[in-house]
């Protein structure tokens, strides 16, 4: 009975924490961007502007949720749900601390990869269903982007899998007891981080949205809470990719003195802040540049990493 309640708490927690965190992340990002542009950002509502989040939520819930008459209604409604669903499903795989994870799946990493690839459908379908040329261009770009990063994203992770000898995320974290994989897998980390940024559609790879070229890209036609789902989905996937980088390359929950959950949260927030810093500093690439970069540089790098790791594992085992 106790165990069932514990599991229930973990499940609800894993569902609720990313959702609230990503809402908070919107405020944090605005504050951080402001800091790096020598401004203050939202600091009026509550202490440090923290109540900006409930204020924004109330606003977006009260907004009119409008479906354009020319849109493909069913697909238009399903699209924002897909991104939330797929990203939240991935969170179920993440080991937050020893014993605190929703599902201890043996193919956990594969499942996360599959779910994150599902997220692209959301963007592509939203662009298609909106029946608007800018949205369609956004969706097209998202598909082109997906074609370029998904391949080397998977390949870059194979090094970690080889080193840990498992697809299970908990075992991958436990395999990093002595050395974090960021040292032997530095190439893989590099490739995976770039793929992760592309995965979240964030600056410098935010071509599907590209608000200065495509109005708002794939979600031009969305309003109200459907837009909110895309918005929050993007922030949750930022948190997801940061958490994945921590889990796979920076020893997950492991660290001295502090409790494991705190370590996990600390490491993850460092990478989230890194994402925001990137948005503050870097310009947007063209999508053909990303494709060329992906196929001509990062794919060979990921393959090289895989070969080197394989040779290393073979030689030492």
């Amino acid at each position: 009975m106790m165990e069932a309640i514990m599991r229930l708490i973990v499940v609800v927690g894993v569902l609720a924490v990313p959702l609230t965190l990503s809402g908070l992340l919107i405020v944090v990002e605005r504050r951080l961007l402001a800091l790096w542009q020598d401004r203050y950002g939202p600091n009026r509502v509550g202490p440090f502007g923290l109540f900006q989040l409930p204020a924004d939520m109330i606003k977006i819930f009260l907004k009119e949720d409008w479906i354009p008459p020319f849109a493909d209604k069913a697909v238009f409604i399903i699209a924002p749900a897909i991104i939330m669903m797929s990203v939240l499903m991935s969170f179920a795989m993440l080991p937050l601390a020893p014993g605190i994870m929703v599902v201890d799946l043996n193919v956990g990493l594969l499942f996360v990869m599959a779910m994150s690839s599902m997220g692209v459908y959301s963007v592509a379908l939203a662009g298609w269903a909106s029946n608007n040329k800018y949205s369609l261009l956004g969706g097209l770009r998202a598909s082109a982007q997906m074609l370029s990063y998904e391949v080397f994203m998977g390949l870059s992770l194979m090094g970690v899998v080889l080193m840990a000898g498992s697809f299970n995320l908990r075992e991958i974290v436990e395999a990093q007891r002595h050395t974090w994989f960021c040292i032997p897998q530095i190439l893989g980390l590099f490739v995976f981080s770039i793929a992760g940024i592309a995965e979240t559609h964030r600056v410098p790879f935010d071509m599907p949205e590209a608000e200065s070229e495509l109005v708002a890209g794939f979600h031009s036609e969305y309003s109200g809470m459907k837009f909110g789902m895309f918005f929050v989905g993007e922030y949750i996937s930022v948190a997801l990719v940061s958490a994945l980088i921590v889990t796979l390359y920076f020893g997950g929950w492991q660290g001295p003195w502090l409790p494991p959950v705190v370590w996990f949260a600390l490491k993850t927030s460092v990478f989230i802040v890194g994402f925001v810093l990137m948005r503050a500093a870097l310009p947007r690439l063209r999508w053909d540049q990303l494709m060329a970069f992906g196929w001509k540089v990062l794919l060979p790098l990921a393959l090289l990493n895989l070969i080197l790791t394989g040779a290393f594992v073979l030689a030492t085992r």
């Binding site: 800091l35 790096w36 542009q37 020598d38 401004r39 203050y40 810093l277 503050a280 500093a281 870097l282």
Partner: protein, 171 residues
Amino acid sequence: MFSLFRSMWMVFLHSFRRRITVEYPTVMPRIAPRWRGRIILSRDPDGKERCVACYLCSVACPVGCIALQATEDETGRRYPEFFRINFSRCIFCGMCEEACPTYAIQLTPDFEMCECNRQNLVYEKEHLLISGTGKYPDYSFYNVAGLAIGGKAKGEAENEAPPVDVRGLNL
């Protein structure tokens, strides 16, 4: 690649810079004394209206927001019967101040003049007239002008000699 990390680092260094935002409603920004804000009508050092109702400000105004009507008191001193500035039209260009020959109309550093009702932005003379002299504390137009008005005959102004009787023979 290196330049990307360099620019990220340089942006990060901005965390330690001073923020340039002035949190206006709680902190007043520094406003220059020559700021072109709310328009006022000033008075002489001896407390009389400086405006001589010459209409030059009204003519100079590019948006035509100044309306006035000239009149004279019994001593021959001109003054505006009414003086009206529609601040919902005013663009605070300062042309009226430049045009004014008597330093009567002046722009001040005050800019906080929002109204909920547009009609309240139309300022009449009683709203425009201040009790002081504004930017030119010692200037009084009639003291440097040759015109005779009540209390000051011809030749009594500053740097002015008494009038010469050109028809007199004993020059």
